[in-house]
């Protein structure tokens, strides 16, 4: 059972690195193509990253285009930050003494970042809906409620983890 858990943890650690690198590349690619569409060639707005077409928004208003583009980049960076924190959890994790204050703190920070991403995504969702109402043709699912749900779940886990840390510390100080 222990070996199985260790194997799963090792696999998740490798996956977290892969996702983190992938998100960094995505954020970089979106930022570069966004900058290209602004300063070099406006045609880049038609395919920012993986068929993300914001050409209609660009024609509607460059200010709105900059705001939406910045929100997309910011949310991708926040996702990368979450996975960076997951990697830090694995770095600090001692499998023989898994309940430590550092990991409890990192888990709580992840929930705060996810909550911030959720609020940002909700705001972006409202803004997108307003833009679509103005006649702009664009498709972007920001998944704001999913982010908030995730933040809530992680926060609950963080609170339970903190209690686990307290119990472990109490157990260690029982002579």
């Amino acid at each position: 059972m222990k070996t199985n858990t260790l194997q799963i943890l090792r696999i998740v650690k490798v996956l977290s690195w892969i996702v983190f690198i992938g998100l960094c590349i995505t954020a970089g690619a979106v930022a570069v193509s966004f900058a290209v569409s602004l300063f070099v060639n406006t045609a880049a707005a038609a395919d920012l990253y993986q068929n993300l077409d914001l050409s209609d928004l660009y024609k509607f208003g460059i200010g709105h285009y900059i705001v939406i583009g910045s929100l997309i980049i910011l949310l991708t960076i926040l996702k990368a930050v979450i996975f960076y924190l997951v990697i830090r959890i694995f770095k600090n994790l001692n499998i023989n003494k898994p309940f430590s204050f550092e990991i409890a703190m990192l888990t709580r920070i992840i929930s705060y970042v996810a909550f911030a991403a959720g609020l940002l995504a909700m705001a972006a969702n409202g803004y997108t809906e307003w833009l679509i109402g103005q006649g702009v043709s664009m498709q972007k699912d920001w998944a704001g409620t999913e982010w908030l749900f995730l933040a809530g779940i992680i926060f609950i886990v963080a609170i339970i983890f903190t209690r686990g840390v307290e119990l472990q510390s109490e157990n260690e100080l029982t002579i």
Partner: protein, 69 residues
């Protein structure tokens, strides 16, 4: 915490060093030190029994309740 550990007082009365007590009660020096400095959160009955046996005293000689200020 309102529970005060008077282990050092009893050790001084019995003229017993921490090393000697450690070997008699089969506890590590670091654990005894935690107990002596009042950092411990709890004490097992078996530990209390061993300490009382080694120091020829009662649990009340080691543990004392003081009203929190």
């Amino acid at each position: 915490m309102p529970i005060v550990v008077n282990l050092d007082v009893m050790m001084a009365k019995r003229k017993m060093s921490l090393n000697e007590l450690s070997s008699k009660v089969d506890l590590t020096l670091s654990n005894l030190s935690i107990l002596k400095t009042g950092k411990a959160k709890a004490i097992r009955f078996s530990t209390l029994e061993a300490i009382c046996k080694a120091l020829h005293c009662q649990p009340g000689d080691i543990l004392e309740y003081q009203e929190a200020k």
